[in-house]
Symmetry: C2
Amino acid sequence: MVGRARTESGTGAGDEELAALLRAAGAAQGPEAVRALIAGVLAAPEPVDPDEWMVLVHPSPGALLADKLRALKASMTARPRDPGPDPAARLAALRARLTAGGFDGFVVPHGDEYQNEFLPARAERLAWLTGFNGSAGLALVLCGSQSARAAVFVDGRYTLQVRDQVDGALYDIRHITDEPATEWLAEAAEAGMRIGYDPWLHPPGGLAGLRKAAEKAGAALAPVEENPLDAVWTDQPPPPISPVRPHDLRFAGRGSAEKRQDIAANLAKRDAGAVVLTSPPSIAWLLNLRGADVPCTPLALAYAILDAAGEIALFMDLRKAAPDLAEHLGSAVQLRSMKDFEAALDALGRDGGRVMVDPAVAPVAVFDRLESAGAEILRAADPCILPKARKTKAELDGTRAAHIRDGAALVGFLAWLEAAAPAGKVTELAAAKHLTGLRAALDMYRGVSFEPISGAGPNGAVVHYRVTEATNRTLAPGDLYLVDSGGQYLDGTTDVTRTVLVRGAGAEADAEARDRFTRVLKGHITLARAVFPAGTTGAQLDVLARGALWRGGVDFDHGTGHGVGSYLGVHEGPQGISKRSHQALDPGMIVSNEPGYYKTGAYGIRIENLVVVATAEPAAGGERPMLGFETITLAPIDRALIEPALMTSEETAWLDAYHARVRETLSPLLDRATAAWLAEATRPLGSG
Amino acid sequence: MVGRARTESGTGAGDEELAALLRAAGAAQGPEAVRALIAGVLAAPEPVDPDEWMVLVHPSPGALLADKLRALKASMTARPRDPGPDPAARLAALRARLTAGGFDGFVVPHGDEYQNEFLPARAERLAWLTGFNGSAGLALVLCGSQSARAAVFVDGRYTLQVRDQVDGALYDIRHITDEPATEWLAEAAEAGMRIGYDPWLHPPGGLAGLRKAAEKAGAALAPVEENPLDAVWTDQPPPPISPVRPHDLRFAGRGSAEKRQDIAANLAKRDAGAVVLTSPPSIAWLLNLRGADVPCTPLALAYAILDAAGEIALFMDLRKAAPDLAEHLGSAVQLRSMKDFEAALDALGRDGGRVMVDPAVAPVAVFDRLESAGAEILRAADPCILPKARKTKAELDGTRAAHIRDGAALVGFLAWLEAAAPAGKVTELAAAKHLTGLRAALDMYRGVSFEPISGAGPNGAVVHYRVTEATNRTLAPGDLYLVDSGGQYLDGTTDVTRTVLVRGAGAEADAEARDRFTRVLKGHITLARAVFPAGTTGAQLDVLARGALWRGGVDFDHGTGHGVGSYLGVHEGPQGISKRSHQALDPGMIVSNEPGYYKTGAYGIRIENLVVVATAEPAAGGERPMLGFETITLAPIDRALIEPALMTSEETAWLDAYHARVRETLSPLLDRATAAWLAEATRPLGSG
């Protein structure tokens, strides 16, 4: 992603022809504006339809203009990228800039102004500076009077990768929990140092520890006016541009006006005059809109301010508004330039009202600005998060439909794999590509919901494995192969993991692998079958997925499940299944059920379905209403890895019923050969 | 309990004879001091040995002096008690006193200076004032310019009882969670009111809500110098007196000096110079001493200050020190009068050190005093709580031994009940008395660990039922009878619940009761069999005890288990099994396993064993060490209430193995008839 997009300036050859075509079409923009627009488009991930950005130039550009626009974008993509200075020079440039600005250090987080999980290219500052491109991390850069020090902090997933990517002569490399950044800073900072941070890139809580550590050393943290790294990153991509469009009411199930009234009532109840929303998924949900600014999640980068009357101002790059957006939003929504956002915060302060802001996600800059403008701040969770997590009937219907199509694609993949693998030529990359190709052919497909995890043998044991050319293994018969993948569809988001025995001559799982797989499956089934009263949290249920593993003296080191959005983030809160998930599981919430087992250097096992929290069938003679889970993911679980003797009769009955449902639901969507394969794969467990 | 003890003054007849005997024995006290001592003894609960207090007069008083002391105590007990003014007059007297002192109201908690679970007679202020004698509650008294208002707040257990005991014309009666005291106060208080509270009776957190509520009404909370209720309670018992004695090292397993060094090291690590201990169980554990100042728990009311060098000052009524206490404590322990405690806090402040105090248990007065003396306060959990909960090998061995004796007594009771009940003449009170009598005959018995819950039929459905003459039911054949009871022994504390079918002609449990009982049992067994990694909390495991009930559409509204002490509190923290128990379960901790089911107006079911957290047997091929529970309570579970078809084979195997262990362990302690009964009661479930 990084560096694929660049700002462009000047006029190129053929601009006069483009200008003429634009004029003829009645487009408002000239060639220079279109080049700047394309630079933004190239800073967003490549969408399923590579031409969809053109609506931002003209609602129906016509063939000639479209060809011209396509060619211009291609020429801008093709231009060879300036590799820029090497890491040592980048670090030196940053230090020089800091010193010039009166700073002695800088905090470089992995995070953007929206606390996105998947970052736009422009926000990959940590990767640009240090070379480390993992999904989480932090760098601290000090200028130091004598020996200038810097450090990169990563978690356990990235301890190997970071050593490949980061120059140990430039940076101390540290484990972020075992050797916290606070300790490094307290030790490395010198008295009197002024260490900068970009107040747009940190929520307040995230800085508290570093601030204390700096103070311990007699140093201080101070916000920068302009990001000094951005100033020295000459080739930094611009903010991403992708069309921001309405999300159809038939998928959302609830109009934006109604949602806004509910949130506004919540504000009024808490004596707040307004809420500042800085989280794009909340804004996407509240206004029923979707974008494509970041990888894997249909978000539009934007901020919003909703007042207690239900009126809302949406702040974003106005060039991103698709032609039908304004009508969709209606008159209660002011569409404003992102440039106006700070002034709007000032106005909130001047009004003297109480303003709700979520300290877990909103940037420090928002708090500082509001406070200095005189606002009273109510620190509270983003009020959209909980209603967003409780899906509407339409969202659930859509998600179920998406899971049926997605399941058919996955079954096609598994059938293909069983046929292709015995030849010993299928690689992890090829398998992942094949699966993504099958999804891409599906109705309403909008891309992957995350980069597939495709791991054979020992690679399957790497929990957050991302296959690269360097790690790419061929699936050998007898291997366990773990594939965790998902798609974004207009009607829903999927996320599914299956672990299969790679078929081939003599391929058979050993007793240990079958024991482990069966224990993972027993945990999966115990959680899937759970019945519980309203108010029960994921922290209470997590143990159900682990009991069989614990009895076997093993465990897995990740949560059992995460919340999932509706054509939104594949990871969403506040619901989840883990010992830290203290949110009650309410009807309509979607969570994953994904226990696993990982044997380092050997194999990994994970079985993941998505489930919806739903009212349970009342028990005969029961007194209290109960909730349970409806499993919505549909794909067979490999019978070759199950040890039937370890299963209870209830567990076997659940599996057989699930397999029957998979077969009955998906067969009509499959070609004859695949349906036959599925019939075989979903036979009752007792049937040999 | 209330009002049984009184202060006495003046000299009575026969004092000259007593004086002579005291002089002859070389006792330090004269008759007047002995009368005051006895007044304190009478303000403590009656111990198993009613003469044990005499060591506080003389280590071996001799027969003549002992007879005289016994007679004097009897005469002081026998004197008819002045019933005192009626509740209206008491309330009026309190209001007059408040007004005279410049206060407009007063907070009357159910709690004492030590946050004891079981209160000494002197601290039953809520009961004296209002008539309500439940184990939890709160009164607020306002003086009011026009209509003086007052209210009593109780929880769901006491909503019926409070209406019998409290005059609704004097007090508003409120449900403490549905109609919180804060709301009542915010509404009832008038602007400018000064509402007093006794700063020795509240930890700081407990007042925060009331303080805010008062402020909302324009009123304020203010500490009183002397408790105005004590001032008008003319017949208030003095502080209790009972001998404070060493707790033998063979039971404690760890010397006090070693414990103090550990806590002192903990203080040093946290830069604290000292810790103020205000919780009697912590002091009892730390100094290996026991007393008998409050009902059901062998505590000595005392405060202590431990410094980072391991030296400790123990503050208490010095008359309570048994003759061998000083030698046991040794030279590193200063035994000081409670009167010196405040001066000692002042001295800590003058030293300017950092002082650890637990805001969950220590009185506001301690914080105020330390702060005004200039101490820096480190608010942190009482550092004795966690090591106290992790029992030593000696404590566990002792507890196991106590459970064997206790189990034999309970088996004797159950056998007696089965023989006696069919005649239809056994009452709840008689049954409880019989059971307590059997325990009282046991070696090392020191009293009940709580008042037995003995409930037949609908009374069994009252979770915290305490049988009284008014509620006393006869156990009818066919009833379910629930008995929850426990004993204190020098070597351990027990707590066990059994629910049995009352035998008799045609007595049979209906299908619903058997279904419920079996689901409770399944939950009990699932928890008992749990295997889990270090770090797992009771909040994570609680669901295991509920799963079978939830699947049946039912639940129970209490935690599944509480921590239990070692010849200390039958309720102790921080360990527990409930959704609020976020303490990791460490090896050596004792918790109860007591799921239940309650059908209001019909019957109650609870099956309770105590379990010890222990290392689990390693699984074949397991990779990680696991923990599990060792069940230590030994008593049969009524097979007549089990529906075998609902049990899994693992559950049946557990029950049969447990019953075999009960039989093998207890039979040698039983007479032949009882052993035969037990053999029948513990037959394998499949054997009809």
